[in-house]
């Protein structure tokens, strides 16, 4: 069998063409329905992989809409690796530009949160930072600390209440009208075996993003304050310690000063 025969067989699976020449059955020289079993398996298994990663999105748009959207995505972006646990990282971006879903403005952000959850699920294990590790550090050095993110950490944000909408469609809270329609952010992290989604207070997204990018505590707090004057440092520090979003104290400002000297 030449590579070309497999090319023809594969091409028809992501399309609606009749079986390629030379594909037969005992009772037919063009077994459309039999060949269609393979096409159906490909579509159903890949759609199933996406539905397993994006269950809240499926619940929001309904099974039929989700299947159609997944089908369009699979056609344009089939997987390029047998590691399906990572398939669909770019499905939220696809959904954001998917014309029939345009009216559901928050859909893509809910999907970004779901993608972050599965990434966290499979991320490397690491022990979270022991809150006591900070206790021994004098207040004069605290601001210069740099923290190392937990391998599972993502910070998601949306101009819509995407975290609340996700929670309602993931069985975390009852589905009801969203009382306060405004932007939301959350940490997604798996300090041990359970993936946590932790809603962030105002400017928490800015604070944690700066920390995750290697800025010092003082720099991250200043940036958060600038983003929103309502930023509450002690509340955000409590989240930092409670959630296990960071694993260790990295280089602090004193190290940097020494390096630059």
């Amino acid at each position: 069998m030449s590579h070309a025969t497999q090319s023809a067989f594969a091409a028809g699976l992501l399309d609606t063409a009749p079986p390629p020449a030379g594909v037969t059955a005992w009772n037919s020289s063009s077994p459309t329905r039999r060949y269609g079993v393979y096409r159906n398996n490909v579509a159903a298994s890949l759609t199933g992989a996406l539905a397993a990663r994006f269950p809240a999105a499926e619940r929001i748009v309904g099974a039929a809409f989700f299947r159609a959207m997944a089908g369009a995505f699979i056609h344009l972006h089939p997987p390029h690796s047998p590691l399906l646990l990572a398939y669909g990282d770019d499905f939220p971006d696809f959904a954001a530009a998917f014309e029939p879903a345009r009216e559901i403005a928050y859909l893509a952000d809910v999907m970004r949160l779901e993608a972050a959850r599965t990434r966290a699920y499979h991320a490397a294990d690491a022990a979270p930072l022991d809150p006591q590790a900070l206790a021994g550090i004098g207040p004069d050095r605290l601001g210069g600390l740099v923290l190392v993110s937990h391998p599972s950490l993502s910070i998601v944000s949306s101009p819509h209440p995407a975290v609340t909408i996700w929670a309602m469609n993931a069985g975390e809270m009852p589905v009801a009208p969203v009382p306060d329609w405004r932007g939301e952010g959350a940490l997604v992290v798996r300090p041990r075996m359970i993936v946590d989604v932790v809603p962030l207070p105002p400017a928490g997204v800015s604070f944690f993003r700066h920390l995750a990018h290697g800025y010092t505590l003082a720099e991250a707090a200043c940036a958060a304050m600038e983003a929103d004057a309502a930023f509450d440092l002690s509340k955000n520090l409590a989240i930092l310690l409670r959630t296990g979003a960071f694993t260790t104290i990295g280089r602090d400002q004193d190290d940097e000063d020494r390096d630059h000297a």
Binding site: M1, L13, T24, R34, Y35, V42, P82, L83, M193
Partner: protein, 284 residues
């Protein structure tokens, strides 16, 4: 080369939703089998569960993504991931399929059929040599459930598998449900297929359910769906196989509409009773 060496007992495909029930009490299960690709993340619950299971049970790692039947070179990165996984968990057996699933760079996530010719035989044997060299262990190759045939095929599937095993030293994984499904789909007698199968190379058996439909001419079309109990004619074929070759590691696969653990465990127990009967007969 480490030989494939599962216990000659009944096993079950491991599903994460069964983990708590499985570790809650001793289980009458000879081994568990997992799909390799589900354990290729860096960490998290999949590895924690598999590590825990491995403490108490023999393990079969079953690949579904290597595309051994592909007419293009094997994916070296994927082979390296399989090697890492086998080194980490030291399974009693590693198996894959006589099928392909990747073409060019697209992964189609289904076990696709190939024609059986001298050319494909050479190619598949070369891939199996490469896998066995990389892993340092004997692999098992599984017969596929197929829905179509190829005009260009010149070798019977059973002869193809026998020659692959002879050339490479690999063992065979005889999926009895696949035999029944494929034979029915190609209007053949499944017992004739078994009679021609190189049973001496079989190191594991798979049992599972299938669903039934028809083609556009009304002829039966069976689908390897892994979503129901093992069907009676498949049990009958299985009994005939182990009657001939004696007890062999036998796995119940249930991947869709997965039932509660006791249902799967009872299916495995049914296979174990048949293995026990075969063992008594062998001893007699």
């Amino acid at each position: 080369m480490i030989p494939s060496a599962l216990p000659r007992r009944a096993g079950a495909g491991f599903k994460p939703e069964h983990f708590a029930a499985i570790i809650a009490e001793p289980q009458p299960i000879g081994f568990f089998e997992v799909h390799a690709e589900n354990y290729m993340g860096a960490g998290g619950p999949p590895h924690a569960q598999l590590g825990r299971l491995r403490e108490d049970f023999a393990l079969s790692i079953h690949g579904v993504g290597l595309s051994i039947g592909s007419m293009q070179p094997l994916d070296r990165a994927h082979l390296a991931r399989l090697k890492t996984l086998c080194e980490r968990y030291q399974p009693e057996s590693f198996s894959e399929h006589l099928a392909w699933s990747t073409h060019d760079s697209v992964f189609l996530n289904d076990l696709l059929p190939l024609p059986y010719t001298q050319e494909t035989l050479r190619r598949v044997a070369g891939h199996i040599d490469e896998v066995q060299d990389a892993l340092g262990r004997q692999m098992l190759l599984e017969n596929p459930a197929t829905y179509v045939l190829f005009a260009e095929s010149t070798i019977e599937e059973t002869a193809f598998l026998a020659e692959i095993a002879r050339r490479t030293g690999c063992g065979l994984l005889l999926d009895v449900n696949n035999v029944f499904v494929a034979a029915t789909n190609h209007n053949l007698n499944p017992s004739d297929y078994i009679a021609r199968f190189p049973l001496e190379a079989v190191r594991e058996i798979h049992l599972s359910g299938h669903s039934e439909t028809v083609d556009e001419r009304g002829a039966p079309l069976l689908i390897d769906s892994h979503g129901t109990p093992v069907r009676d004619p498949v049990w009958a074929l299985y009994a005939a196989v182990i009657d001939r070759i004696g007890p062999v590691a036998s796995l119940i696969e249930w991947d869709n509409d997965v039932p509660a653990w006791p249902v799967l465990r009872d299916e495995a127990a049914a296979a174990q009773r048949m293995l026990d009967a075969a063992a008594r007969k062998t001893a007699a």
